[in-house]
Symmetry: C2
Subunit: 104 residues, 2 copies
DNA sequence: CATTTAAATAAGTAAACAATTATATTAGTG
DNA sequence: CACTAATATAATTGTTTACTTATTTAAATG
């Protein structure tokens, strides 16, 4: 049972279109910042800032591997969010369009 | 399966703290505008505008009865929203504090 | 260890949004 | 039918928030 304030915060976090798209992308697979930049067609700082908010809200998890920092979903303990993400259209096609070496 | 745009809109609608509180109140029972004004301790136009947004988003239903217009929940066809509201703390106590004749 | 590159942070701008104050509807009832 | 009371709308203000541009940090690897 969450407070209204907490729930409001969480909903605001995922209600942004860019962040919701990022979460939908991470449903397909983990991704580095530059992957997301390429798909969203926006700037790197913009994506970094959204990822920071998602991380602070406990929605994603980050791990460095080589040059890149990979972000992945972390919503197992958030049933509402999980359900909502389940209902999002698949991003498979857009993810597939990523050039293999886009971030080199 | 909703689009990201639609879902984003819906989440934004319910992520506002005032609107989320209104929905939580309507979970207890239908209410007229002045009831909500009294509980939220804000102005009447503020509540009217939030209600208008909720109505446009299909979250509430209105019906006039005597002097008053009563608003009630309309989320049966919105499973996400319904689940989220289920998780909100009960507003029973705050509703009970309403003076019987608060809106005369 | 210096260079390169991915990502983060800082600072500034613009747009979206909630709240306020003021005014207009609208319907019920004396 | 005029008056009152409840709600809606309009206009304004202030805050929040996303996005951009510029700069910094940090780690990997040659």
């Amino acid at each position: 049972m969450a407070t209204i304030e907490e729930l409001s915060e969480q909903l605001k976090l995922i209600s942004d279109k860019s962040r919701l798209t990022i979460l939908a992308l991470l449903k397909e697979r983990e991704m580095c910042v530059c992957d997301i930049v390429e798909i969203l067609e926006t700037t790197q700082p913009n994506v970094s800032q959204h990822l920071k908010k998602l991380k602070n809200g406990g929605m994603v998890h980050e791990t460095r591997r080589g040059h890149w920092i990979y972000y992945s979903l972390n919503v197992e303990d958030k049933p509402h969010v999980k359900k909502i993400l389940d209902d999002l259209p698949s991003m498979r096609d857009r993810v597939a369009l990523l050039r293999k070496e886009s971030c080199d």
